[in-house]
Every structure is written in C-alpha cells, then in structure tokens.
C-alpha cells in the first residue's frame, strides 16, 4: 500500500518537474508546429486565415522548378560542407591534441574564435575580404586563376565559397567536440599499443579512429542537420543568386512567407524541409551506427 502510494507520489513529483518545460515546449514549439502543418493545407497569408486547399500547395511544389533547384543546391552544399568540415575538424583536433599547455589553449581559442561571431559579422568579414573591387583575397585569386573573381556573383564559385565561409565559421565547435573525444581515450591505450608495436598511423587507424567513431558520427549528424538548414550565409552574401545557383530551401521559405505573404505555400516548403531533415538525419545516424557496430 505504501509502496503504491510512494510510487504515485514519485510520478507526481516527476510530472511537476517536467511540466514547466512541457508547457513551454507545447506553447512555443508544438502549437506553432501544428499550426504550420495546418497552414500548409490552406492558401492563407502569413497572418490570418486562409481557405482549405488540400494538397494544392504540395502539388504546386512538385511542379516548381525553384524547389528542385533549391533541393539540388541544398544537396550540393551538404556535399561541400559535411564531410570536409568533419575531416578538417578531426585533423585540427589531432594537431592541437599534440600540443600542450598554454600553446594548446591558444590554438584552440584561435580555431574556436570564429564560432562565437554572429553570422552577420562573419559574412561581413568575408564579403570585405572577397570584395571584387577592394577585397584583400582578390590578388591571391588573381594570382591563381589569372583574374579577380566576383565569388558571390559567379555561379560556379558561389556555393563553394559559401561553404568555405561556413566551414571557417563553424569548424571550431567540431574541433572542440573532437578534442573532448580525444581526451576521453585513455593514454594507456596508446602506450599499450606502442608496446604492441603499433606505428603512429596504426595507432590512429586501430585505436583513435574506432574509439572516436561515436564523436565522428555525432559531428556528421549535427553537421548534416545544420547544413540542411543553410539560410543566413546565402541570404547575406549571395541572395540566392546568381541564376539561383545558391538558392536553398529555407531561402524559398523566407521569400514566400515574408516577401510574398504566401503563408500556406511557405509552410508546405518548410514542412517538406522538416521531413527531409528528419528522414535524412535518422537514416544517416542509423547507417553510421551500423558502420560503427561492425568495427
């Protein structure tokens, strides 16, 4: 009897502790999310009611060339960022990990510094550095390619450059995750491996890499989600151009919702993006876990 009573009290306490969070979550996430789903089946504006149009918005989406262009650009951006930033962060983390003391702290701070900058500052810095008329990087580009390049106005350069800026901006956090992961590997293991006759490369392949795999999988998944949500950098540096070569799904959501007041259509695009991110990231995480389990 007391047991049951206690257990009930236990649940009550737990519920009361979780309740504030659940209420806030329901208010600022769940409710708007449900409303957004509902909105995507109407022709409503950003604010105010619209008429139920069923799947019209989705049908329209499937025949919207800009949607396919954006989808392709999102994919291209993923290719340009996710794997490169992960490998780069790992390489930097391995190098920093070999330093010690103040030098290590300084290097870590240097690589982490860009991450604390707001996106507007980051894009401003790079817009200046890469400015076609006055940018200090232009002489370098001119030296390599033979002439200065308006990188954010050139359909071939724009996505790689946005990716480069993004990697520069966000890499520090990944480095930090990898450093934490590396520090979690006991030094003993490397010493044991040294005695077992492992070379530096073998130690990396047979100990560091497999033991770091959970962190690597985490970084890859976080990056995938983050980079699928690319918006700010494109909005601030290239506005989706030239020739839509940097147009991405979130920019489409933004333009439809806030510029054209098409709340319903924008919601449909947003929902498709949401489902896409969910499916892709769950799929990737499962694949990575499978890959990790086989080791």
């Amino acid at each position: 009897m007391t047991m049951i009573h206690n257990r009930r009290r236990h649940y009550l306490v737990a519920a009361s502790l979780v309740a504030p969070f659940m209420v806030i979550l329901a208010l600022v996430f769940l409710y708007p999310a449900i409303r957004m789903v509902a909105l995507s089946f109407t022709n409503g504006p950003l604010i105010g009611a619209g008429d139920w149009v069923g799947l019209d918005n989705y049908r329209r989406l499937l025949s919207d060339n800009l949607f396919y262009t954006s989808l392709k650009n999102n994919g291209y951006f993923i290719v340009l960022t996710v794997l490169p930033t992960t490998l780069l962060a790992l390489a930097i983390a391995l190098m920093i990990n070999r330093l010690s003391g103040r030098l290590q702290a300084t290097m870590l701070a240097l690589f982490f510094l860009p991450y604390i900058l707001p996106v507007s500052v980051v894009t401003q810095i790079w817009s200046w550095m890469l400015d076609f008329q006055f940018g200090i990087v232009q002489p370098l580009l001119a030296f390599i390619t033979g002439k200065p390049i308006p990188v954010f106005r050139n359909p071939h350069w724009v996505m790689p450059m946005v990716a480069l800026v993004t990697i520069w901006w966000t890499n520090g956090f990944n480095v930090l995750l990898f450093i934490a992961g590396l520090r979690n590997i006991p030094v003993d293991l490397f010493e044991a491996a040294s005695l077992d006759g492992a070379s530096r490369r073998q130690k990396f392949c047979r100990i560091t890499w497999p033991l770091l795999w959970p962190v690597t999988a985490l970084v890859l998944t976080l990056q995938l989600i983050l980079q699928l949500k690319i918006f700010d950098q494109v909005y601030l540096m290239s506005q989706g151009g030239p020739f839509n070569s940097s147009y991405v799904l979130l920019l489409m959501v933004y333009r439809e919702a806030f510029q054209l007041n098409n709340g319903g259509y924008a919601s449909a695009v947003a929902l498709v993006l949401f489902v896409l991110i969910m499916v892709v990231s769950v799929l990737q995480f499962q694949l990575l876990r499978l890959g990790g389990g086989k080791r």
């Binding site: 504006p45 950003l46 604010i47 105010g48 919207d64 060339n65 800009l66 400015d131 076609f132 008329q133 006055f134 308006p150 106005r153 050139n154 359909p155 506005q239 989706g240 151009g241 030239p242 020739f243 839509n244 147009y247 333009r255 806030f258 510029q259 054209l260 007041n261 098409n262």
Partner: protein, 428 residues
C-alpha cells in the same frame, strides 16, 4: 531630457492657466524606414511639428528598410498593433493592397489635411491609388534615377556647353561616345553604378525598357508581353555592351559605385537623386576635388523616361483596433503639415510630390533639384503588380539573373528568357 521636461511643464502650465478645458494630446505612433541623411531630415521635421503642435505628439520609430519593414507592418497590422501612420513606397502599393494593410484616404481626410488630389503630380497620384481609383497613400516626394557627371573628364569635348553644363546627349550613340571621350580623358570608369546589385541594375534596365516603350508586367500579369521581350533583351544588350567596352565597372556594390564617382574616377554615375546631398556636402567641404552636375536621364532611346518611385504616407488598416476620428484628424493634420514643409525634405535630393512646394520659387531656385525636376512628367513607376516594387521578386530576379548577365555570365536573350520564366512562376 531638459527639452522634454520643459514641454511637460508647458503642458502643466497650460492646463493650470486654462482651468476647465480638458487638455487631450493626441499621440501619433509613426513608423518609417528613413535612415542616414533622409533620417536626419525626417527627424528634424517631426520634432519641428511637435514643437508647433502642443495638442499632437508624433512618436517616431525608424525601422530597417526593405523586407523587414514591410513584414513588420504586415504582421502588426494583422493583429491590430500597427502604427497610426507609416512611410510607404508607392511601388510597393500593389502588394500592400493585396495584403489589405492600407486604409483608404478619403476626400474628407484630405480636406482635414488641407490637401486635394490636384495638389499632386498626376503620376504620383496614379501610383498612390488602387485600381478603383481610391487613394491609399499620400505621396510625399518623387525620387528618380538621374545622371551625375564629373566635368573634369568632359572638358574639351562636345558634351559640355560654355557655362559648363552637360549638353548634346540626345541618343544612345551620343552617350556612348561621351563615355568613350571620358575614357580617353583618363576616366577609369566612365559610367559608375552598382552593377552587382538588385536595385541599381533594375532601375537602369527599367529606364531603358521604358525609353523604348516596353512593358514589364501587363495589367493581366503577363511578363514582358509582345515585343517587350525584344525590348528588354535590347536593354540588357546595351548594358552588356557598356560592360564589354569597359565603360561600366564589373561586379560593383552600391557603396563602391558611389565611391567610384565621389573619388573622381567615374565620369558619369547613374543613381538615385538621394545621393545628391552626399556629393553636394563633399563639394561644399572642398573634399570632392572636381566640378560636378546632375541631370535627368537623357532620352537615349525612343522616348524620355526615368525610373521613379515615391515615398508616401499611409495609414494602416488596423481593423482589429480602429482609430478614433480625433486621432485620424491628428494624423491627417500631420500629413498636411509635412506636405507643406516638404521643401526641407527636398534637401535630400527628392522632388516634392506636392505641387505648391514643387512649383514654389524657393524650390525653383533649389539646385540641383530644379535642374532635374522636369523628370516628373516622364517618371515611370514600377509596374502595378504584387511581385514588383521595392524588395520584390522583380528586384530579386534583377540581382539573380540580370546583374550576372550584364557582367558577362549569360547572353541577353537567355537572361531575359530566364527572367521571364522566373517572374512568371512567382505569380500565383
């Protein structure tokens, strides 16, 4: 602070001196998007208005120009939390009407303000009216694309008259040979404009299109109907030609394009009237280093035309929170006062939309505004479409497709074809 305290004391005193009169001051919440030089002038006007009107107090807030401003208005008006008065681009009126955020300005309103339709230039009134002819905003100014020139590079050519004014540009050939002459005279950039940006490229494209009599969007929503496609292609060809000849700078931002002119590298600059104070102030402080002038865009093609837009005052349709008649009167009083004091505003390079000021001898003597004010007769507003106007899909397409095209990334035909299909797909 001291100023405010004085006002409070004045109000307090007034209410003591006049016992029995209920002193009801109307607070007007005012949103605008004026920053920089425009912002300073507008602040001076509102505080002068407040000083002269003990019974009305304008509480002004300046917000970020472009999509953020219009989004904020749209969302706040939808829930009845909009301002009492706001600034508005007339090019943006069609979208405002579609969204239903604008309250009609009635003849009674105009009467309260001491204004009438005939006080304004017809193009501006037309742009401020809905398809039904109902007025939805009160035009404040007309600002347009104009041609700035640096006299140093035109010295000794046929394009400067005896008194040092630009002359002899009556066709595209004339303009291009003037640019060639300027280049020979050492101008690195004969014609400066923001070749990598949406608005600068669009304004010139639109001006050229209109000088050929082309139509960007027909009333029934067709993009570049009939031979307008060919005309638009021609406009892009002209701009691309300027690029090919090295007359216009490659991929240049707006700020850089202004700097190219004020630093004396450009012979011409195609830009809005709002840069007049910039050049004027530099000249006045002796930092410009050359003699300059500004004229309305010459007739380069078949007919005179200049891209133009207007700043206007509009009253939000706060349906959930209707305005009291007293407040509306106060708002209209403020608008009327602003119109009558628009000479001050013209200092920012604009042409007053209110004819009594525009035709006054003070404005007629105001230079360089008086030189180009005749452009109001051929001012061409953006097409009346929800996808046109400031910060619209048309502007996006300009930076996305037209700007790279004139920098050599796409042929004019292909660019116009893409431009057309892009805008067609943005229409619902």
């Amino acid at each position: 602070m001291i100023f405010l305290r004085k006002r409070i004391m004045a109000i307090a005193l007034a209410s003591m001196i006049l016992p029995g009169t209920v002193f009801a001051q109307q607070h007007i919440s005012w949103w605008d998007f004026f920053v920089g030089g425009d912002g300073v002038r507008m602040k001076a006007l509102t505080s002068q208005f407040n000083d002269e009107h003990a019974d009305i107090n304008i509480d002004a807030t300046s917000l970020e120009w472009g999509v953020p401003f219009y989004t904020k208005v749209r969302t706040s008006v939808a829930i009845g939390q909009g301002p009492d008065i706001m600034s508005w681009h007339l090019s943006r009126l069609p979208l405002g009407l579609e969204e239903g955020v604008l309250s009609p300005i009635t003849d009674h309103d105009l009467e309260v303000a001491g204004l009438s339709r005939s006080d304004f230039f017809p193009h501006a009134i037309e742009a401020a009216s809905g398809p039904d002819g109902q007025l939805y905003a009160v035009p404040f100014d007309i600002h347009a694309l104009v041609l700035y020139y640096n006299k140093r590079y035109l010295q000794g050519t046929d394009y400067l008259d005896a008194s040092g004014r630009l002359t002899g540009i009556d066709s595209l050939e004339d303009f291009e040979s003037a640019m060639a002459a300027a280049a020979r005279n050492g101008s690195r950039v004969p014609l400066s404009y923001g070749t990598s940006e949406d608005a600068p490229v669009f304004r010139i494209f639109f001006t050229l299109l209109k000088q050929m009599g082309g139509i960007l969007i027909s009333p029934d929503g067709e993009i570049l109907p009939g031979d307008s496609t060919a005309k638009a292609t021609r406009a892009i060809e002209i701009m691309t030609h300027w690029f090919d000849e090295g007359w216009q700078p490659e991929q240049t931002s707006y700020e850089a394009s202004v700097a190219l002119f004020t630093s004396g590298e450009a012979a011409f600059m195609l830009n809005g009237v709002w840069e007049v104070p910039t050049v004027k102030d530099l000249a006045a402080s002796g930092k410009l280093g050359f003699d300059w002038g500004v004229v309305q865009v010459p007739m380069l093609l078949d007919q005179p035309a200049s891209w133009a837009d207007s700043h206007a005052f509009a009253i939000p349709a706060n349906a959930r929170n209707p305005m009291s008649p007293q407040k509306r009167e106060a708002v209209m009083t403020a608008i009327g006062w602003m119109e009558r004091h628009s000479l001050e505003w013209a200092g920012a390079g604009h042409i007053p939309a209110y004819k009594p000021v525009a035709e006054s001898s003070e404005f007629q003597q105001m230079e360089p505004n008086a030189t180009y004010s005749a452009l109001v007769d051929t001012a061409m507003y953006d097409p009346r479409s929800p996808i046109a106007g400031v910060a619209s899909p048309v502007y996006d397409a300009a930076v996305n497709i037209l700007a790279p095209a004139i920098n050599g990334y796409l042929s004019p035909e292909q660019a116009i074809a893409q431009f057309k299909s892009e805008l067609q797909s943005r229409q619902r």
